[in-house]
Symmetry: C2
């Protein structure tokens, strides 16, 4: 229970509910002790919880609306990587006293609702608490009537691929922090990658049954490759740098290394996956059919290390992850 | 990702996993992007999320083990009130740097596991973050192949009942804070009510289909009665004070009001419910059969106010909730 002079817990919940799209035919009404969703037939319940903490996850320049939306999107992204359609989310909010006001709560609720609805899910319940820092702890739920794509299925020889180009959030974050330069058009595009990230749900659903392993890239491309390698007991030889053209330009303008921006960024929600060579054409077409793209970047190897080899130069990709918004430079 | 000199996120997850009982036949292994549970047949997925925040939810004298256990129990209690068996939980942890050490994390993991296993559930996944204050955000999941008991089903004339006596946590909290006196035996019993609360899951499951409305009493008995009254559009006339004998004694010794301790406490996990008079004998027997007790305390009324009437004296029960550990006196 939020114990605040500004607004009581029940008033906070009332404001939140007003901004949410209610799921049709809820078996338990919003505001009862639990939330529920009707199920049909056998299958698997899939769950994910991921907590957004303002101090480490909300960069300068991000509104409460976009922070709340991102808290949902980062959970949706994990579902995307497993090829599972999300159904509903419950949200535990930790609100500092300074945010226990009508405007802030409405903005958070709208961001949560927007994030969920963009991907076909609903917010069906939650909990409100008083905390020193803003915390949005989302638990997402869905059902699967098929096998989910694990991290552990890659075999040597499989094609490594990604669903988009990398480096935009690394660059965008530097721009938001005022450390770097870019043209107004690039500035907007790169900042937008940080402030309004998108999960690759359509791609993940289209690729279901066509790929051998998958995860998202929320901790950076290098980290994802190392995780897939660890779980699948393989290595990777990367021979194509999936760098966005704006990032290439940004790196040159600001004297930064392309490779660092692409591999050691984070808060990017592309899928990193492997495909058997004989499934490649089908996988590529399936992603194209939903308006996405599948970019081959190399292949899985018996040798359990991870290298980038380009223009005859070979360098080790380190198991470094996302270093949060504290030390992005 | 926990960014700490003390222990890395992956080491933290490894320690946690070591202390958890693994659910048999998990369709997705622990540590992949999502967690999953196999389902059989139609039904309803039931979800609950509740966040434990150290500053407001962990009283003086409570170990990390008991704090983590409580974070689970408070979610189980909501399932108990709806008559739903919990299956599994995912846990988002917010750890301050001071707790990112082996001993603290093991204690938290053991507490989470103990809380879940006591009620037949498993911890199947989670997320770790760095926060300024310890935060344990639990999302509990279960399936129901029956209707769940809502807050809104009470009708005037229904018997109001509780699954145990009240006031122990109010008294125990005052003892833990060193403000009050009690005999060593009572001291232990009352402190234990705060440190090691139990959810009334057996009672809740036994009462399924026999009661007209139900919720737990985590925000205090007065608050629960007001919530049931609001949702069901009834009032309550309470004519029996469900006070624990130790609390009666404690109130006398310390010059406190019995009624305050019973109604305006909190962090108590009894069920507060209503039963149609014609179902009373069956409901009472069902609870007895699982080793519990069902205590009638009054009845639901057309008049939408909530009164306590004892010894010819009538007083209003206010819609005051649990005031946290900040201002218990």
């Amino acid at each position: 229970m939020v114990d605040t002079e500004a607004l009581g817990e029940y008033e906070i919940i009332r404001i939140i509910r007003k901004h949410l799209t209610l799921m049709p035919d809820m078996p338990v009404p919003f505001g009862d002790d639990v939330s529920a969703v009707q199920l049909l037939g056998d299958g698997m319940v899939v769950l994910k919880t991921d907590m957004l903490v303002a101090a480490t996850d909300i960069p300068k320049g991000m509104s409460l609306y976009h922070a709340a939306r991102k808290a949902i999107v980062m959970n949706i992204s994990d579902f995307a990587s497993k090829g599972v359609m999300p159904t509903a989310a419950v949200v535990a909010l930790g609100l500092p006293k300074t945010l226990a006001n009508r405007k802030a709560i409405a903005e958070i609720a709208e961001g949560l609702n927007a994030g969920a609805r963009e991907y076909g899910a609903y917010i069906i319940g939650g909990d409100t608490n008083e905390t020193s820092d803003l915390i949005i702890s989302v638990s997402l739920f869905g059902t699967a009537h098929h096998t989910v794509t694990l991290r552990s299925g890659a075999k040597a020889g499989d094609i490594a691929a990604v669903t988009g180009l990398f480096g935009k959030t690394s660059a965008g974050l530097r721009l938001l922090q005022g450390n770097c330069n870019a043209s107004p058009k690039d500035r907007e595009l790169l900042a937008d990658a940080v402030l309004c990230p998108n999960a690759r749900l359509r791609e993940g659903l289209a690729l279901r049954d066509l790929i051998s392993s998958s995860m998202d890239s929320s901790d950076g491309l290098a980290w994802s490759l190392h995780e897939l390698a660890r779980a699948s007991k393989v290595g990777f030889l990367i021979d194509r740098l999936p760098v966005a053209p704006e990032v290439h330009e940004f790196a040159q303008t600001n004297g930064l290394d392309n490779v660092d921006l692409v591999f050691y960024g984070g808060e990017e929600y592309e899928l990193v996956l492997t495909v058997k060579p004989e499934k490649w054409t089908e996988a590529e077409a399936a992603v194209k059919a939903v308006g996405g793209c599948l970019i081959p970047i190399g292949k899985a190897t018996y040798d359990r290390e991870i290298f980038l080899e380009m223009n005859g130069l070979k360098r080790v990709i380190e198991p470094r992850g996302w270093e949060h918004f504290k030390s992005p430079a």
